[in-house]
Every structure is written in structure tokens, then in C-alpha cells.
Symmetry: C2
Subunit: 260 residues, 2 copies
């Protein structure tokens, strides 16, 4: 592989990816700074032609998107022809917009790679297990939450679900994982038969190169606050940020985390 | 039909049913009082044999369950043989427990009827429409929320779902409708593309005689607080409590309510 550029969204992920790569190019779209050891390219969403040129000048052949991207606010006066094409897709759904972004970079000769592809250590291999062994009830809760995600997957809904003692306590919607776990934390005690399991997984057909589900210390803290017993993810398909800290949290809280 | 007895759970529904029936028998299990015009039978969950005897003495042949039932706290010392059978089912799921209750009443010769069967005015006929005509976007949101409920129905999950501008904002879990709508109300503005539609419907195979989904003024107030544009229910299969008040709320808030 040639030199890689990271298109940096929010959160700690872009910096973790940068730290794992040799001499990366670090592209920010919001005027943010770049980590030490990376070549900084400060770009504007309206000037994609300039970005493509800068990337080529740096010898970049691979591009990876890392961290949450917000739908950009665009100044229409400044749009170049590439950005104009993107702007015309802004009214479409997230998936359509994403496909347009990928097509733009591909046409310019860049290979779009997933962050987890460039840094395999970002995900956990299947079979990874931290903390206590799940009880039969926790295994049943895992299966039920997974069945709910499977049923919703064709509808492009649901990256996460919580089941406790056979009852669904929450299904992730557009507000994301943290909101889901806060909701679960508010479940009245009388409705709660067990601690429960949080299953997090990609949707079927989700493009893992640009949109891999991610958990990290904040997710685990929210799961602890929600009184959950365990977290289950598929191996190789969910990014685990700061895995050592996550493992410590899981073990200290008496929970389990399992990559299946 | 013969004389009907209402097994009264919580909320206003039992009294609405009582008001619609001629000389009903009103059974309370928690020491609550009965409305005027009804014959009061104060029963204990442990003494079902006594309840059956009292109902027969009053000439009751039809029984209806109205209002939310909490899983009873049972004093095992007091159990008669009927209640003992029920107590043995308490460890099972809600559906299994319900089936046992229905079987017990049926074996004693009572016909279990849905509240909406005894009082057809509790539901809205298909084609009922209050408030503004839904926009094409609201119709699409209705279809998407309904598709999510359909996908979850075989798993015995989801009586309600909210979709706004093509994005799911919430899927009902065990905490119920009010918790769902409170969750939706907290959606950050930047994630919200439209007001959205709340679809409420029974799950496939749900026994509407004892467990019909219910909305009322509190539901509409919560939907208004969540900024929703409309509510959609199936005709004849969701109880609408205090319909005149509900209609007034809907129209005043510039929403719509549609029974399809």
C-alpha cells in the first residue's frame, strides 16, 4: 500500500488511526489541528479539487475516513465542480451521500480503505472474551437482541439493542448508542428482570470502510450506568477504541465483553 | 350476551367500560372502589374460587379485562387451588401467564370478551381522520414506522414506532409508549429532519381481548411534547380513551390522527 491519508471526523478515532500509521497525511475539514508525526492538510469541503491536488502532491494513494462526520455546512459561493456534485447529493439519505463521496475519491484514483483495514488492532478477533462467562440467561438475551437487529437490518435500522431477562429494553435509532444506553438506564426497576446484554453490530450491507460501528470507554461507562451485565460485538466488524482501558472497565465492573 | 364483569386494572379505561355497560359487575383486586351504578366485587388474587362463586351469584357470564394489570404480589399462605395454578405460572412470560388466566376463566364457564368488543366506541373505525391531511413525507414516515413494527412483530417486540423524515427516532420497548415519546422528545435538533409520525399498533398474534394497545389524552400530550406531526393507528384495534378530548388536542396542535 502507498501513503495513506486520514479524513478526520470527530472523536479520538482519527488520532488513533494516525498513531498506527507510518507518516500519514491528516486531513481536517473544520480547521482542527493534526497530531504530531502526521502531515497536516487543512481542507475546505467546498474545495475538493484542491484537496485532491494536495493529496496527490503528498504521494497519497489510500484514503480512510475516521470518526463521525457531520453533514457539512457549505458556502455555495465557494463550491468547485467536485464539491458541487457532492452538494447536489446533500438532500439524499446518508447512504446515498456516502456513496457519492466514495465515488468522487475513487474517480480521482484514490483507494478508500476502512480504518480497521489499515489498523487491524482497532477491532477484536472473533473468540475474544473479557470478564465473566455469560450465564445461560445472558446468552439467551444476546440471541434475542441479535434476532431483533437481524429483523431490522434489511430496513437499515438498528446498530444496537439491549435485552434483559428476555425483554427488550431498547433498540438503537438515529440518536445513537449513548442515547440508547441512557434510555435503558431509566428503565423502572419493576420492569427489569435481569441486568441484560447490549449487542452492537453493523447493519447488513453497511459499508464498513466508512461507517464501522464503534465502541469505547464512554460506551462501556454508559453500559455500566445502565446496569448491564455484558456487551457482545461481532469479531472484526466493530471498532473498539482504547481497548486496554475498555478491558479494564469491563473486568472491574464484573461485566463481560465478547467478540463473536 | 349475559351480564358482564369488568376485571379492573389501572387507569381510566375500566371506568369508561363500566359507564358503557348496563348494570356491570366491577371487580377490583387492589381494594379500589367501584364507580356508581356498578355492582362492586372486591376480590383477592389468592382467592379465585371465591371470585368465581361471587361472579356466578351475580349472574355474570361475560368477563372483560380492562386497564393495565401489574403482576400480582401473592401471599402463598392464602392461595386456593385455582390461584395456586396461576401462581405456578408467574415465573413464565407475560403471554403464558395471560393464557393461563384466560384458560382459568373459560374452564369456569365465563366468556372472556375484549373491552372494545363490549364497547365498540372505544376504538376508531378505519377511515377516521382528524386534523390536517398528511403530507407525502408523513405518509412515507407512516409506512416506514409500520414496516419496522411488521419486522419486529414476529419477535413479540414493538407496539409503537416513530419515524421522521425517513429516520427512525424511536421503537417502543418494554417501558411503553410514554417512555418512547419522552425519548423522542430529547432528540437533538440536528438529527431531526421532520416532525415525524407515531404509529401504534398491536403485535401480530396479540390477544386483543385482554391486551389491546391504548392511547389517550396523555399519549397525545406526550406526542405534542415530542414535536410530532401525526399519530396513526389501525382501525378497530387500538383503544382511544376520551376520544373527544383527543380529537380536540389533535386539531388544536395542528397534528393529525388517522385510523387506517
Amino acid at each position: 500500500m502507498g501513503r495513506a491519508a486520514i479524513i478526520a471526523g470527530s472523536g479520538t478515532l482519527p488520532r488513533l488511526v494516525a498513531a498506527a500509521l507510518e507518516a500519514p497525511v491528516y486531513v481536517t475539514l473544520d480547521g482542527a489541528s493534526a497530531p504530531e508525526g502526521a502531515t497536516h492538510v487543512s481542507a475546505r469541503i467546498e474545495k475538493l479539487g484542491r484537496l485532491f491536488k494536495d493529496l496527490r502532491a503528498q504521494g497519497v494513494t489510500e484514503v480512510t475516513f475516521a470518526g463521525a462526520m457531520v453533514r457539512p455546512k457549505i458556502n455555495p459561493v465557494l463550491l468547485d465542480r467536485h464539491a458541487l456534485r457532492l452538494a447536489m447529493s446533500l438532500g439524499k439519505g446518508d447512504d446515498a451521500l456516502l456513496r457519492e463521496v466514495l465515488a468522487l475519491f475513487a474517480e480521482q484514483g484514490f483507494t478508500v480503505r476502512g480504518a480497521a483495514e489499515l489498523c487491524p488492532d482497532l477491532t477484536l478477533p472473533s473468540g475474544t472474551h473479557w470478564g465473566h462467562a455469560p450465564s445461560p440467561e445472558e446468552t439467551a438475551d444476546t440471541d434475542r437482541a441479535q434476532a431483533v437487529l437481524d429483523a431490522l437490518s434489511p430496513l437499515d435500522v438498528g446498530q444496537g439493542a439491549v435485552c434483559a431477562g428476555g425483554q427488550m429494553l431498547g433498540i438503537e435509532t438515529v440518536q445513537g448508542t449513548d442515547a440508547l444506553l441512557r434510555f435503558v438506564a431509566q428503565t423502572p426497576e419493576r420492569l427489569r428482570r435481569a441486568k441484560g446484554v447490549f449487542v452492537k453490530a453493523p447493519k447488513r450491507g453497511q459499508d464498513l470502510r466508512v461507517d464501522m460501528p464503534t465502541i469505547g470507554p464512554e460506551t462501556v461507562a454508559a453500559a455500566i450506568a445502565a446496569g448491564l451485565g455484558g456487551i457482545v460485538i461481532p469479531g472484526g466488524a466493530v471498532i473498539v477504541i482504547e481497548r486496554d482501558r475498555v478491558r479494564h472497565q469491563i473486568e472491574e465492573a464484573g461485566m463481560f465483553l465478547s467478540a463473536q
